[in-house]
């Protein structure tokens, strides 16, 4: 409020003028101090934003990467296709249709015509572009990701990749570039383009552990035990895979836990226990393994160190307890399957075996294969309702709200979350044979990953 009467102001000014002369040195010092305090604050950047009305996906275009010489044409096409595919499947962007792209393709930022890409029909907000040079032994990829709606803004991502020139390496660089883009656009959640999926396949005659890239490329056999291998589980550092194996001891086949090292490509020593031992699960810190064992008679859950030593019994029930899954966020809670109530149902307990609770569902039926989402909020499982097939469901563990992810498409079992919490891999019989499929975690964008032989029990690597 301004003061109404002028004469008071005048009087005040006269008084303050006198005071200023007297207090001049002090005031000067005060002003200096004020400047020192305020100057950095003025340089402080800030922005405002908010939520409440949903989020729109940015529209992204991926220009064909320009090949600098004849040798690089195939690699350039492969690189742009993989980046396009990765971004499309990330679930967080809309890919602009390729047929709407301008004819002029930039290879370096100097050649980028912002207007042509940001205007209709392409209407892109971001553009990935770059160039490839391939020599006899090596290749160099320059890749940029620019905000074409803001020509003055610096590139969001600018990378140079330099390495061996082969298809596998080109794919890896494309995945890295796509992951970088996805991490930037999603606010720090890393992409999963560089992750792997372990699974069980009968392609080589026996059930062996296989692994593939997250998009189904590069499928390769990991174990060759010539017996049966089941339920692979990646360790949290993605260095080891624990699985159920059937080593031959004389003529008796007994299920045991085996651990394969992805670093040294061989099996690690793991003790063998009496009875049937199966379905291992790593603790989120990688120091413990929980597994089902009948070493004391009844199939119960046991916890052991990562090297298999010091097994301790966790559950005490008349039924069989199996398929443990740790809450990866807290490491304090474990979901498992038990038939102590007559049929296989989902239970949760604390990691020390206390606080066993049944997960109540609104219908009867078999419930198997629990899998925690990486943020620990959602539990995915396979549920066979009395009148139906096995279908995948996701439950919010706090509110017990359910969402059905699959329906009327064969048996769908064994969900496994990707580390970004946006994707899920599972096995399905929707094409007649048992195969591995992946989808976005809201049930959309289902795509097949395998087609040869019978493939089952997928597990997404944590990194």
């Amino acid at each position: 409020m301004e003061s109404k009467d002028g004469y008071k102001d005048g009087a005040r000014m006269r008084i303050s003028r006198l005071a200023i002369w007297r207090a001049a040195p002090g005031l000067m010092l005060f002003a200096c101090a004020l400047y020192v305090l305020v100057a950095p604050a003025a340089a402080q950047d800030w922005f405002r934003t908010g939520t409440g009305l949903g989020v729109s996906k940015p529209k992204v275009a991926v220009a064909d990467f320009v090949s600098r010489n004849d040798a690089s044409a195939a690699m350039a096409a492969l690189f742009s296709d993989v980046v396009r595919n990765d971004l499309d499947y990330s679930g967080i962007v809309d890919l602009a249709s390729k047929s709407f792209y301008p004819t002029q393709v930039p290879s370096v930022p100097m050649e980028l015509n912002y207007q042509a890409w940001s205007d209709p029909p392409a209407s892109a907000q971001f553009l990935a572009f770059g160039n490839l040079t391939v020599t006899d032994t090596s290749e160099e990829i320059q890749a940029w990701f620019n905000d074409v709606k803001n020509p003055t803004a610096p590139p969001v991502v600018g990378r140079v990749y330099h390495g061996d020139s082969n298809e596998e390496q080109t794919r890896r660089y494309a995945h890295q570039f796509a992951d970088e883009i996805i991490a930037r656009l999603s606010g720090g959640l890393p992409g999963v383009a560089a992750t792997q999926i372990a699974f069980v396949s009968t392609r080589s005659g026996n059930k062996e552990i296989w692994a593939m890239d997250y998009d189904g490329a590069n499928q390769h056999e990991i174990t060759s035990l010539h017996s049966i291998a089941l339920t692979p589980r990646w360790s949290p550092d993605a260095d080891r895979i624990a699985f159920t194996c059937y080593p031959t001891a004389g003529s008796i086949l007994s299920a045991q836990i085996c651990v394969y090292s992805a670093v040294s490509s061989r099996l690690l020593n793991w003790p063998r226990y009496r009875g049937t031992n199966s379905s291992p699960a790593w603790s989120p810190d990688g120091t413990k393994v929980m597994f089902m064992s009948s070493m004391l008679g009844n199939p119960e859950l046991f916890i052991a160190e990562a090297d298999g030593s010091r097994p301790r019994r966790l559950t005490h029930s008349t039924g069989a307890d199996t398929s443990a899954a740790w809450n990866p966020k807290t490491g304090q809670q474990v979901a498992f399957v038990s038939d102590r109530g007559g049929t296989p149902q989902l239970y949760t307990m604390d990691a020390d075996g206390s606080e066993v609770q049944k997960v109540e569902l609104p219908d009867m039926g078999y419930v198997i294969d629990p899998a925690w989402s990486p943020n620990g909020q959602l539990l995915a499982f396979s549920w066979r309702r009395p009148n139906g097939n096995y279908d995948l469901y996701v439950m919010d563990i706090a509110t017990h709200a359910l969402v059905e992810l699959t329906r009327d498409a064969g048996r769908n079992e064994r969900p496994s979350w990707a580390p970004d919490g946006r994707h899920m891999v599972f096995e399905s019989t929707r094409t007649g044979t048992r195969q591995i499929w992946s989808m976005l975690a809201d049930g959309s964008a289902v795509r097949p990953l395998t087609s040869a032989g019978q493939n089952e029990s997928p597990n997404w690597s944590p990194k």
Binding site: E2, F47, G52, L53, V55, F126, R184, S186, D396
Partner: protein, 270 residues
């Protein structure tokens, strides 16, 4: 003879018209009656779209899975044309000055008019005589902008980004230089905002504003509520959304500063 025959014929015609008319009336009423009956019969118990009726398809839309960090579908808000909220300053259109009385004179009255028993005078209004400042919000046009919020998408509108961030004095132009970063932070926090943890009886809440700093490495610091929504569960869900997003991506390499302050608002509605 001929006339007689005509008369006979006419009488025959007259006699013949009554019968057909009667028949036509009876048949028409039968026709309409049967139409009505068949309509009632054929549609009995067939409530279109009702439960158990044919042709009705029950659709349940899953808007999105909270907890899965996928972008939630954009919801459309209606454009509010009229805004009832008042501005800060009173600048109502002034009443029109009274028109001068016409020339015609009233006939003077000779009887003395009675004084009213109570004399009411207009009370003195203590209005501020200072004129409103230049940038005052005109009367009746305050409140939130009467446009769809989707217009305010960061980065989507080019470099201007109306309404979302302030450049210039003290503010820098972070949002103008790195709109993708602002978008990314918004997406991340939005996907971590679990609206299911809000009091279920609440349908709507005023805007909650949370401020925090993003450090060089993407860590979130100093998160605090600047403006409460008035509901503790909305406030705590907003704070949890911020804490659950920690850390966001590191600040862009091209940005020279050590930290960026963020003002993040949460509009809760079901």
């Amino acid at each position: 003879m001929s006339a007689g025959s005509i008369a006979v014929r006419g009488r025959n015609l007259e006699g013949g018209l009554k019968g057909p008319l009667l028949w036509s009336f009876v048949l028409h009423s039968l026709l309409f009656g049967s139409l009505g009956v068949s309509t009632i019969l054929s549609h009995r118990g067939d409530l279109w779209g009702g439960p158990g009726g044919g042709g009705a398809v029950s659709l349940k839309l899953v808007g999105g899975l909270t907890g899965v960090p996928l972008p939630q579908p954009e919801s459309v808000t209606t454009n509010r044309v009229v805004d009832e909220s008042k501005g800060l300053y009173k600048s109502e259109p002034k009443p029109k000055p009274k028109e001068p009385p016409p020339d015609a004179k009233q006939i003077p009255k000779f009887t003395k008019e009675k004084q009213p028993y109570y004399v009411t005078r207009p009370s003195k209004t203590l209005e501020d005589p200072t004129p409103p400042p230049q940038n005052a919000v005109p009367y009746g046009q305050g409140g939130s902008p009467a446009v769809p919020y989707s217009q305010f998408g960061m980065g989507a509108n080019g470099a201007t980004n109306a309404g979302m961030q302030f450049g210039g004095q003290g503010g820098g132009d972070f949002g103008g230089r790195f709109p993708w970063y602002v978008d990314a932070v918004r997406n991340r926090v939005s996907s971590n905002w679990l609206q299911s943890t809000v009091d279920p009886s609440l349908r709507w809440a005023p805007r909650a504003v949370v401020t925090f700093d993003i450090l060089r490495n993407g860590a979130i610091a100093n998160a605090q509520i600047l403006q409460s929504s008035g509901n503790a569960s909305v406030d705590s869900s907003a704070m949890r959304a911020i804490q659950g997003s920690n850390p966001v991506n590191p600040l862009p390499n091209e940005y020279s500063g050590n930290k960026v302050s963020v003002e993040f608002w949460f509009d809760f509605r079901r």
